[in-house]
Amino acid sequence: MKFIVSSTELLGHLQAISRVINNKNTLSILDNFLFDLQGNTLFMTASDIETTLITSMQVDSAEGEGKVAIASRLLLDTLREFPEQPLSFDINNSNLAMVITSANGSYNFIGQNGDEYPRLPEMQEDAQSLSLSVPQLSSGISKTLFCTADDELRPVMNGVYFDIKDKEVTLVATDAHKLARFTVPYLNSSVTDEQQAAFILPKKPAAMLKNILPKESGEVNITFDNKNARFSLSKYTMVCRQVEGRFPNYAGVIPQSNLHRIILDRLSFVNALKRVSVFSNQASNLVKLDFSVNQLRISAQDIDFSISAEETINCQFGGEALKIGFKSSFLIEILNNISSSDIVLELSDASRAGLILPFEKEKDEDVLMLLMPMLIND
């Protein structure tokens, strides 16, 4: 088979899917991209068995059809060094010898038999479907992914939970210290109003989506059965295994009636936290928040190094004085994942979950972040 492609366009597609490839594979065929030429369309696949990414692009002067597996590192290293130009690929289907011809030279590879590349899992017949807008999924993934756990003892938390009911889809992630919940109405779904359906998307494919979604627009169609999930976009398709098991009951842990409600300017809060937290104990990252009428005092100290810092910023708060401690790195991460310029803090007391909410809501999207405090001694 033969075809001609733009070097940078090909590189862009391959780089996007190459992130799924593991550095070390027990199955050596997975070190390769699978190229599959069908008519004028070139399909490219990368996989780690659990997650598979497929992308496609139109090529010029296509002749013949076929499949070949090409060493991913060799190909990427070569493509990276070309300035934009057409490259011609010529692959001998019988012995898999491959030549790339550029303006100035030629590069010879030997491919591997494309039939050895693992096949995609088939979806079961009772698979459900769901479609939503690409920007909304993109926003949902990036606002929840940072809360996923890395916990071999509780694998169900190492992913983003998709909970579909009442014409809405809710994405939830938690590592048992912090939790993010994101809800949007979906466009279409096979899940009826009386039903509920759910699956857990593992961390790695979620991170792949976070990377690919900004390159896309329009709709994303999600198909899932009880084992796998498929995300279909205009240029990319991702198929992945779900995390098995039951996601913890997140709704039951979100406090409904936190008494204290404080409104803060998000950026001045984050910036003050960043400065003060430099002086927190390096192991605990503990910062103390002291709320009094319309004022927040942020303080931290590291007794080991005899250093301390404090800052006072304005806020809207009318209640009684309140003190609470948080791990500053968690709090900063949460605030960085909210887009609104003002935020609402809903607190109960120093040992109960605090809620962090955007003050101005994005259209149709409901965002809630929860953070457990750290105990303070005074």
Binding site: N23, K24, E152, L153, N249, S306
Partner: protein
């Protein structure tokens, strides 16, 4: 310092493994001897004083040891035997006190402030212990006597071998002032170099720095050094030495490069570690994988779980993940796996202060994997 002056003894057996072998094999007495394997990949576990004169010391590769001392006799270690002798010595300690903190088979701290024989003189106790060790085991020990752990350990090192040295409270500060900085607890090669650059060569130099200066340069250890420079060390002799980690490692007869071989080895290490965990009832949350490459460069990767790692499947899964993270493109000569109670203060802090979301599902559920 809390309360009355304590009486602490540090007992350090002289070339313990090598001395046992020389005692049991008269033909090797007064000869350079090393315990360990002489093969290409062996290391010296212990060296007799005769061998030390040639520059042979423990943890040295056997090849280098043989180069320094061509007539060096190698004996394979008999750890069960050494443990038995160690128990014999411990029985001697127990005649005086129950406050015994063993540091290894050949080293222990004893708090004899109160002792079973109601003896007032710690020096007298030290003399009796030395004599009993010699008469019951035929071995010699170096013993340090002082009023805290730091000083008693320095004292035992002062007159090695077969020494007995006492640092009295009235002499302590003067003694510490003259002490080279390398001899301080917690001062390794790197810290010693930093100290030298700061112009600190001995205890007196150290004493000239304020607490704030020491803390600024050495962090938490700054507080400790500040105390040491003033002959202060409040750490108690802890009779029940809590196990902090449990591990196993293996050096391959041939360097490994293939991922499959490494995984196979990981499987074996996992099983061995599980066996040891089962035997000791030790529980740990943090798993470390250690890899030594053919060029002797060592890397380690660790992972701290949210709870105790108790199942071999979980252990293997985490091990495999750590192996993925470590670069194994270079040939590997050694692989080790160890389980620790917690990775560091970091996770300790986390578990103490950071509250967790009270999910119902996880409060009672035992883990499936």
């Amino acid at each position: 310092m809390p309360g009355a002056t304590r009486k602490i003894i540090h007992v350090d057996m002289d070339a313990f493994f090598a001395s046992i072998e020389q005692r049991d094999h008269p033909e090797y007495r007064a000869k350079p001897l090393a315990v360990g394997y002489s093969g290409n990949r062996g290391v010296v576990a212990a060296a007799s004083y005769e061998a030390r004169r040639f520059g042979v010391h423990s943890a040295m590769s056997s090849r280098l040891a043989l180069r320094r001392c061509p007539g060096l006799i190698f004996l394979p270690p008999r750890f069960e035997h050494y443990r038995a002798v160690s128990r014999q010595i411990r029985a001697i300690f127990e005649e005086y006190t129950d406050l015994i903190e063993p540091l290894s088979l050949d080293e222990a701290f004893l708090d004899v402030s109160k002792n079973h024989k109601n003896m007032a003189s710690a020096t007298r106790i030290a003399q009796e212990i030395k004599a009993s060790i010699r008469s019951q085991t035929g071995l010699t020990a170096s013993v340090g006597v002082s009023f805290n752990k730091f000083l008693s350990k320095i004292a035992s090192d002062y007159n090695k071998p077969d020494g007995l040295f006492v640092i009295k409270p009235s002499d302590a500060e003067a003694f510490v002032e003259k002490l080279p900085i390398e001899k301080f607890f917690g001062v390794g090669r790197v810290t010693a170099e930093r100290m030298h650059r700061m112009g600190i060569r001995n205890g007196l130099d150290l004493k000239r720095l304020t607490k704030a200066e020491l803390v600024a340069s050495f962090g938490k250890m700054g507080h400790v050094f500040y105390g040491y420079a003033r002959a202060i060390d409040t750490r108690a002799v802890e009779a029940q030495h809590l196990r902090r980690s449990l591990g196993t490692e293996t050096t391959f007869s041939e360097n490994l490069t293939d991922n499959k071989d490494l995984l196979l080895c990981l499987q074996e290490l996992t099983e061995e570690l599980m066996r040891r965990i089962g035997k000791s009832e030790f529980k740990g949350r943090s798993l470390s994988l250690k890899i030594k490459y053919e060029d002797f460069k060592i890397v380690s990767r660790s992972y701290t779980a949210s709870g105790y790692i108790t199942e071999s499947q979980t252990l293997f899964k985490i091990g495999r993940k750590l192996l993925q993270e470590a670069e194994v493109s270079k040939p590997v000569r050694l692989m080790g796996l160890s389980l620790k109670t917690a990775a560091s203060n970091r996770s300790l802090w986390k578990s103490n202060l950071q509250l967790s979301i009270p999910f119902e599902t996880f409060s009672v559920e035992s883990q499936h994997s």
